[in-house]
Subunit: 427 residues, 2 copies
């Protein structure tokens, strides 16, 4: 059988795009020949070698709107508007397949983008948009499709995991480790998108929409980033048997969806706690397979490009769904974070005098919160006026906890706003 030829147009040659070119250079397959018919790249680069003999180059991705000599558009620019959005919708409307790493676009336009792809009988693949080196989309879409998924949670942002891991391992504060991560290329010059949790929100939204077959609105994902995590909290968490990780959590209970992104304490013995450094890790809980756990380098040029190339080959081999899904979405309501039933880690900065604990305990009693453990840190030196008290609670309703904290923060002996973190009892 002669090899099947497939033509791809690549838009964007940044980190992932460069990785893809590296992989394509090495990729040999007797059944599939991948030809790069066009590359759109804003930056002027030298593309040499036989792979680019028949390649058209564009400075501006918009020029792909007037170009049709390809089977698959490989969109690696990123962002939910402008050229990437235009060329993806244009390609699908032209009857071309699309492979993309664009989490912002796919999460925001989930419904629209699937609809256009189904209408035009094209395949849309986005493995690279979530946890680059982990085939989590394939797992949900192909392996677990006979299972009912109950819950997915995971570490979906390598930058945040690197920062939290290294703060604790090397006894350094947030800013120091962030600077180091930037120097090493593990964090962007403007790291806000990662640090604030928005990157995790996009990825979680895709997992949630796919796993529960509904049209998730990213605005409904509550988010807290890691910008306020203190080395002190990592150390207290450790002494209590926990690690602090930034998790994305999506869970379906009856008709109610819980979607949230926040840093939280998880037992050191849990699967997910063992995912350190730049690794991502995802746990999927389902009715028949119970618990499955996947770990890989979440970002990085080559792991993400592996996802992109696997999607391209999938389409070329028609491994993908020949019969696109009927687009009939489930309807769910979103649970409110204030209704969360769970336990909390609290760090109080107080005056060092008698009556502090009883003052806090009285407010807890008022809101039906019971303490599970209490640690007190000695003052660092005799000049320091602040005492540090760490309390973990038994399960309570988040709304009550927030009300209690508002009152406690107004007490005369509280010297700084109290730090709170959720504790998740993942095993």
């Amino acid at each position: 059988m002669p090899p099947r030829k497939i033509k791809i147009a690549i838009a964007g040659v940044g980190t992932v795009g460069k990785g893809l070119l590296d992989l394509l250079k090495k990729y040999e397959n007797k059944e599939i020949k991948i030809q790069i018919s066009a590359i759109a790249s804003r930056k002027k680069r030298k593309f040499l070698g036989k792979s680019f003999k028949n390649t058209v180059f564009f400075d501006d991705a918009n020029e792909l709107l007037n170009f049709s000599d390809y089977d698959i558009l490989v969109e690696l620019i990123g962002g939910d508007n402008g050229p990437p959005k235009r060329i993806v919708f244009d390609a699908l409307n032209k009857g071309k397949h699309v492979v993309t790493a664009n989490k912002a676009l796919v999460s925001k336009f989930w419904h629209e983008i699937l609809e256009v792809s189904v209408k035009n009988n094209c395949l849309l693949k986005y493995e690279a948009s979530v946890a680059g080196g982990i085939p989590i989309i394939k797992v949900i879409d192909e392996f677990l499709l006979s299972n009912r998924i109950k819950k997915i949670y995971g570490i979906l942002n390598g930058t945040c995991n690197y920062i939290l891991t290294n703060m604790f391992s090397f006894d350094k504060d947030f800013r120091t480790v962030l600077n180091e991560a930037q120097k090493l290329g593990y964090a962007e010059a403007d790291p806000t998108f990662d640090i604030d949790g928005l990157d995790t929100v996009h990825k979680l939204s895709i997992l949630s929409s796919l796993a529960f077959n509904f049209n998730n609105d990213i605005k409904n994902i509550k988010l807290e980033g890691i910008q306020n995590i203190n080395l002190l909290d990592l150390k207290f968490a450790d002494s209590l048997g926990y690690k602090i990780k930034l998790l994305g959590i999506t869970e379906l209970k009856e008709k109610e969806i819980k979607n949230a992104v926040y840093p939280c304490l998880i037992s050191k013995e849990s699967f997910i706690a063992k995912v350190d450094g730049v690794y991502n890790g995802v746990v999927v809980e389902s009715d028949f397979c119970k618990k499955s756990f996947f770990v890989g380098e979440g970002a990085g040029s080559h792991p993400t490009a592996t996802s992109v190339l696997s999607d391209i080959i999938s389409i070329a081999k028609k491994q993908s769904n020949e019969y696109p899904k009927e687009l009939k979405y489930n309807k769910y309501i979103y649970s409110r974070l204030e209704d969360r039933w769970g336990s909390y880690y609290l760090r109080f900065t107080t005056e060092d005098k008698p009556g502090v604990i009883s003052g806090i305990a009285n407010e807890f009693k008022r809101f039906k919160i019971s303490m599970k453990s209490m640690l007190q840190k000695e003052r660092e030196n005799s000049q320091s006026k602040n005492a540090t008290i760490v309390i973990t609670t038994h399960n309570c309703v988040e709304k009550n906890m927030m009300q209690a904290l508002r009152r406690i923060n107004r007490l005369s002996f509280i010297n700084k706003k109290t730090i709170y973190l959720r504790i998740e009892d993942f095993k």
Copy 2:
């Protein structure tokens, strides 16, 4: 689009077969309708409900040789000869697709079975044959196919992992935990196949053949089981920072394949050490994705049936390779275990008198083996004449270690044959 109908013939309704029937009862899909056209089951069962309205029943799987009203044979009997072998080859020769959980058959007849499937342009899928609840075949065959795989190692047998985990956790000896596992259904009445490591050999052979595209001969996999692992060794390993796990390891270095199955010590901090109980875990190291790690329930009715059903749906949707691989195998040589370069854990049972350590050390010196650590256990009571000495070594050649041990075992103060276990430095 009307749903695509696919007819399956199921051979064998044991643990996995029953699980598959459970899953099929719940499985609903607008695009694919799966109809069970035949079931072959030796045991008389009552099959009720609308799923079996059009089903033919056979007592003997051989009767499927004269039956052709199906698209996919689902072979869940197991074993590398007799009816399962006959019906699988017969189905492929009839131009039918095959889904099987039969690790013995697939590992032994890798080359033949692939050849017949390619010749007849049929699909052969065997996700369920290795680590039931982990889509490891899909990962290697579809996700990582642009990567060069360097090494795969993992815990591939849930029974052994359950036994080793529970011996240590509950301070019990091998026989006690094995009996408990049998009562709970985690171990077979005759557990030899699991305990001796042969089950792991079959699974490892499939991973090795697939990952390195060659025709592995299972006879070339060195194997040691867990039948001689002592609670004492689990405890010593723990105090040295290790766990003991039964691993299958396949590695390609230049043109040399290392394939082995043995219990070994691995750092408690490694990914794979964290896989306890009935879970399986597999680490794949590749050039572009570096390290990927997958965990799931390795055996059990429903996780394995999930793999079977995922294969069935894959074929129904033609997600699988439309263009079967060209069957051109690589040729490799097998490395010899006696050439292994690595470190060792040794437990000596000796007389409790001066000169013992120096006697052992002299033999080590003769064979260029250097000690890394030494622990001595106090005699349990004054009646006991035996002292226990545990030594770990730096890296050395296995052949030298075996020669040294042969000589040491003949020394007058050695009261029992010395226990040795390999230490693997997986991170």
